[in-house]
């Protein structure tokens, strides 16, 4: 089943830490979002395979915006 990993906060996506096709464990940090001058990691809640990124680096993301698609 495919599911989105969303950004828990608004900010700028400054780094994508995983690539499409990578397999990740639960709690793996998948991206860094900058907010209030802090670099805040976003983690995968579940294990899975990165199907595709939905957001480019340097993009502004909204709270709850989907960052990537994760497949089981």
């Amino acid at each position: 089943m495919a599911r989105n990993i969303t950004s828990p906060l608004a900010g700028q996506l400054i780094a994508r830490l995983v690539h499409e096709g990578d397999t990740v464990a639960a709690d793996t940090e998948i991206a860094i979002v900058e907010s209030m001058k802090m670099h805040i990691p976003v983690s995968a809640e579940q294990a899975g395979r990165i199907a595709r990124w939905l957001v480019a680096e340097k993009s502004t993301v909204a709270e709850g915006e989907a960052l990537l698609v994760l497949e089981d």
Binding site: P8, L9, A10, G11, E34, S35, M36, K37, M38, H39, I40, P41, A62, E63
Partner: protein
């Protein structure tokens, strides 16, 4: 001749009342994954402690000879009981009788159930599984008129929040007054999947053109994330456990003080990891929850409201046995900046602490109120200012641990309005009315623009100012009471809790508690 026949008649009525809405309705209720009201009470309170009030109240039918032929019990079951040995009052809606509607079927029993705890100064636990107070519009035909909306005891229901602890568990689809009875509490919990909460349910909402399921409209996931309720759990048993745990930190009423619990955790226990837990790189985050857990008495941390207002962590804990309220920043959410929701959540915890005289510990890492378009659209300054007012209006003893940042107006939340406040800073602390990076641009614009190399000029000014940012410089000017070794923080907090205990003042809060 004894009164045995009458007692037999009483017993017969009690047995009939135990059947609730009848086997079919009870089976349907259980089929939805819900416990009956009597199972709920049994699951909540100490075994065998429930002393029912109004056990035979209901709607009887009699034959021509005056013999009872049936008894439909009132759809409220209530009475006194004990939780962890301490007296409480419990009231539960019975969904199997007319959907648990609080609509005046037996108005006097409802009024009794809602007001008894306040009058006797005991905690109240509501097991809510009912629809609104208006009942059905069919009722209007019987009445032959309409009426101004009112709940006769509602003034007392709300006033009770300034008198006794109230826990409300949403255990089914609750609408209107049922929903308000969940919200009018100090601690509210819903069960995922089997409970929903709304002003009005899907059929009414459909008339406005929105077709939604009750889960889409008011499931626990929605309300745990918007702060309508405090927490969501997976099972009713978990909800009962949460209710018991919450009450364990509080006195029976505002007229008493919370008792010191047992603590086998040494107050002088040190935590080696705390000397390196805060990254030296100010842009890097760290996990606050393990810090909270290591500082308080082992196993005493109860987080409240985990799913919303996430840049502030709130909860109850014990220090050397004394119950305290905790506020702590979570840098993983907006770097710990106070959002509108985080401000509302902080208000709720500070008001609880003030009402029941729990000293507050605030672990501060606040870069400010959240900035930006979305933050302004959410009304961050209105709710943020309300939060500062809640903090400064509170008079309970207060202890801040300055973990890292304290900037801007939100940074004022480091201390409250009590003359008895303490502030200890970790060496990682930094603070100011403005963060340097943004402030340099505004304050030195002319100088930067006039420089041959503006970027170099800006960097030079920033380096100069950052050198002034050490908390040691503030401490030299006695701008903070003490800088401490983070590893010893627990001992400072335990001494604070012991100093604070005799300063707690029982009595009604100066302002009525607003849920």
């Amino acid at each position: 001749m004894s009164w045995k026949p009458e007692l037999d008649e009483l017993e017969r009525r009690r047995r009939l009342a135990l059947e609730l809405g009848g086997p079919d309705k009870v089976a349907r209720h259980r089929g939805q994954g819900k416990l009956t009201v009597r199972e709920r009470i049994a699951g909540l309170v100490d075994e065998g402690s429930f002393e029912e009030v109004g056990s035979v109240a209901g709607f009887p039918e009699y034959d021509a000879e005056g013999n009872l032929t049936s008894l439909t019990p009132a759809n409220i079951v209530c009475g006194r009981a004990r939780i962890d040995g301490r007296p409480v009052f419990v009231t539960g809606d019975d969904f199997t009788v007319r959907g648990g509607a609080n609509d005046g079927g037996l108005r006097d029993k409802f009024a009794y159930a809602e007001t008894w705890a306040r009058r006797w100064r005991l905690p109240l636990v509501r097991l809510v599984d009912g629809t609104g107070g208006g009942g059905s519009v069919k009722h209007l035909e019987t009445l032959g008129r309409t009426y101004l909306p009112d709940v006769p005891v509602f003034t007392e229901v709300l006033d009770a929040l300034s008198e006794v602890p109230i826990v409300a568990l949403g255990l089914g689809s609750v609408a209107g007054m049922g929903a308000a009875r969940v919200c009018a509490s100090h601690y509210s919990v819903m069960v995922r999947g089997t409970s929903q909460l709304f002003a009005a349910g899907p059929p009414v909402v459909a008339r406005t053109g929105q077709t939604v399921t009750k889960e889409e409209l008011g499931g626990s996931t929605i309300h745990a994330r918007n702060g309508t309720i405090d927490d969501e759990v997976e099972t009713e048993a978990e909800a009962f456990a949460r209710a018991r745990r919450f009450l364990s930190y509080l006195p029976a009423s505002v007229r008493e003080l919370a008792a010191r619990g047992p603590s086998s955790d040494p107050p002088e226990r040190t935590a080696e990891e705390l000397i390196s837990v805060i990254p030296r790189d100010a842009r890097r985050v760290y996990k606050m929850r393990p810090i909270v857990e290591t500082l308080v008495d082992a196993g005493s941390w109860l987080e409240i409201g985990k799913a919303w207002g996430k840049s502030v962590i709130t909860g109850l804990a014990r220090l050397d046995g004394w119950p305290v309220a905790i506020l702590a920043s979570d840098p993983y959410h907006y770097g710990g900046a106070w959002t509108a929701d985080a401000s509302r959540k902080a208000i709720r915890m500070v008001d609880l602490a003030q009402t029941f005289q729990l000293p507050v510990v605030h672990l501060v890492d606040i870069p400010g109120f959240l900035i930006g378009k979305e933050a302004e659209a959410s009304g961050v300054m209105r709710f943020g200012t309300q939060a500062l007012a809640a903090v400064r209006n509170s008079t309970v003893p207060w202890c801040a641990i300055m973990v890292r940042k304290a900037f801007g107006m939100a940074g004022l939340s480091q201390r409250n309005g009590s003359p008895a406040f303490l502030r200890y800073a970790w060496p990682s602390a930094q603070w100011g009315s403005l963060p340097i990076a943004g402030g340099v641009e505004a304050a030195y614009r002319a100088q930067i623009e006039a420089a041959p190399d503006p970027a170099a000029a800006r960097a030079e000014i920033e380096t100069r100012l950052e050198a002034l940012q050490s908390p040691l410089r503030t401490a030299e000017a006695f701008g903070v009471e003490e800088i401490i070794d983070p590893r010893l923080t627990r001992s400072y907090l335990c001494r604070f809790a012991n100093l604070a205990a005799p300063l707690r003042q029982p009595g009604r809060p100066r302002f009525g508690y607003r849920p």
